[in-house]
């Protein structure tokens, strides 16, 4: 009997656990360790954040799903990995904390899919927990944002003018796409509620140009032109009367303004009444110990607490970055029975051009690895683990972000007749300038358009992926 332990029950971890369970025999065990009791379909959190959904519509209780599927569920926060066991017993195990008590879970294969730690602490005054800004990273955060938005709408109905600031709260943030969806949905909702003329809406971002999204931007084939995504993004904002601040690192969030530094070294401030600013991410801070209980964390994890896998982490200048630097199997180079999936793996370098201000402040988006790539990585890792349990000597499946594409639908207003969404495809996610010298991507497969059809697709995906997450009949046929 083998036991596969998955740390985390987000998009990547849940996918990995579900596939591993369905492929392994009943003599083998799959255990999921996750601090939260629910699965969250994160892409729909933005609709909670504007008050169109409630948290229960984007979450599912995990315990009954796992009980039905035959997956053991431990609700706890993973703390330590002991890949060599300890002096008493050489079997590897992880420790986790649940309600102050330590739980010890042995494993034969470990999939680290812990996702990000939300580092609101990196910027003074950032975040809903004691700070002055809101977030949509978690369903609870998004519900709080919706309540604050409702208050703002009431004030505007009484005739007040209000200032909205949306974007990212640090120079190294990622997930600009989620904040982008939030700002255009916010604008759409203010129009729907008849108060748009009393709202001043501003986007603040660490992107060098609009539409970078941490992927170095895209060149989209549309209307007889190959057009940079910055043009589309600027058009979308200008059409909706949204102002923007780019190349910015938020230094401090005060109760009614943010202070920021820009790439040219200048400092600025922007007042707000309502701010939704995403935090930077890091790994969750897992510690690793050898058999003698010596701390070997730095052998398995990068300083940003994301896990080293089969990537080329050699520091090199942007000009020397290659698609081949990106991991393919997500196996730890230190321990062949440990893998990382989704946000938990350490990218070899960003995708966007790295930039610093004259003061040395890094102002460049980190690479996104959420949604479709996270799920595909989870599935590929589960495939390899199952094959290795079956006798394979090495991982058998790959899911390099430099070899896979992504289909993304960014909501720009939720209404079945008047809503719109930007539908985009990119191939590959990480540009490969050796294969596609001009733009780094296949221009026939990198595409984008905005329209009502995109909103229908977004709604379809919401229901389809929640159905899949429930592991209902036929779930395996729904692609990642």
């Amino acid at each position: 009997m083998s036991r596969v332990v998955v740390l985390g029950a987000g998009i990547s971890g849940h996918t990995a656990a579900a596939f591993a369970r369905s492929w392994l025999g009943r003599g083998d065990a799959v255990t999921v360790i996750s601090p939260r009791p629910d699965y969250n379909w994160v892409p729909s959190n933005i609709w909670v954040g504007v008050g169109l959904m409630n948290p229960a519509q984007v979450t599912l209780p995990l315990a009954p799903i796992y009980e039905r599927a035959g997956i053991e569920f431990v609700q706890a926060s993973a703390r330590e990995i002991h890949p060599e066991g300890d002096r008493e017993n050489g079997n590897p195990y992880v420790t986790a904390e649940s309600a102050g008590a330590e739980v010890k879970v042995p494993y034969d294969f470990l999939i680290n899919a812990t996702g990000p730690a939300l580092r609101f602490d990196k910027t003074e005054g950032l975040g809903p927990g004691g700070g002055h800004s809101l977030s949509v990273c978690l369903p609870g955060h998004a519900a709080q944002a919706a309540a604050a938005l409702a208050e703002e709408v009431e004030r505007m109905r009484r005739g007040e003018r209000r200032r909205f600031l949306v974007g990212v709260g640090h120079g190294t943030c990622t997930c600009e796409g989620a904040a982008f969806e939030y700002i255009v949905n916010l604008e759409f909702e203010l129009r729907n509620r008849g108060v748009r003329d009393r709202a001043e809406i501003t986007w603040i971002t660490n992107e060098y140009e609009l539409g970078d999204f941490g992927m170095g931007g895209m060149h989209l084939k549309r209307g007889g032109y190959i057009t940079p995504s910055s043009i589309f993004n600027a058009s979308l904002f200008a059409e909706r009367g949204i102002d923007w601040i780019t190349r910015a690192h938020v230094q401090k969030v005060e109760p009614d303004r943010v202070l920021y530094e820009t790439l040219d070294g200048n400092e600025g401030e922007r007042g707000f009444d309502f701010a939704m600013l995403l935090p930077p991410f890091s790994g969750v801070g897992l510690k690793v110990f050898d058999r003698e209980r010596a701390d070997i964390t730095e052998r398995l994890f990068m300083p940003n607490e994301f896990m080293r896998v089969d990537a080329d982490y050699t520091p090199k200048p942007y000009e020397d970055w290659r698609a081949a630097d990106w991991p393919r199997t997500y196996q730890s180079p230190e321990y062949p029975n440990i893998f990382a999936a989704g946000i938990a793996f350490a990218p070899p370098h960003p995708i966007s051009v790295p930039r610093k201000s004259p003061n040395g402040t890094v102002i460049a988006p980190a690479p996104p690895r959420t949604g479709m790539p996270s799920a595909m990585i989870g599935k590929a890792v589960a495939s390899s683990v199952v094959d290795m349990i079956g006798g394979a000597k090495a991982p058998t499946h790959t899911a390099s972000m430099a070899e896979m594409g992504a289909a993304c639908v960014a909501s720009a207003g939720a209404n079945p007749f008047t809503g719109t969404a930007a539908s985009m495809t990119v191939f590959p996610i990480v540009p490969d300038f050796e294969r596609y010298p001009e733009y780094g991507r296949d221009k026939d497969r990198t595409f984008g358009e905005i329209g009502l059809a995109g909103h229908w697709i977004k709604i379809l995906l919401h229901h389809l992926f929640l159905y899949k997450a429930r592991l209902r009949p036929g779930w395996r046929w729904i692609p990642e």
Partner: protein, 51 residues
């Protein structure tokens, strides 16, 4: 909107805005976009052959 840089941005015509929510056209685009996305998903799964 009084932002200076917004005046340099491309803006859609009324026809383009109309087409974004014109039902017959959007039903067609729904089919086209889905096919494009299925192609991306199919190609992306090439390293992940079915078990």
């Amino acid at each position: 909107m009084d932002s200076e840089h917004a005046s340099y941005a491309t803006k859609p015509t009324r026809f383009t805005i109309f087409m974004r929510t014109f039902l017959p056209w959007q039903v067609w685009r729904f089919a086209v976009i889905n096919l494009k996305m299925i192609e991306i998903i199919r190609r992306s799964h090439e390293g992940d052959s079915p078990k």
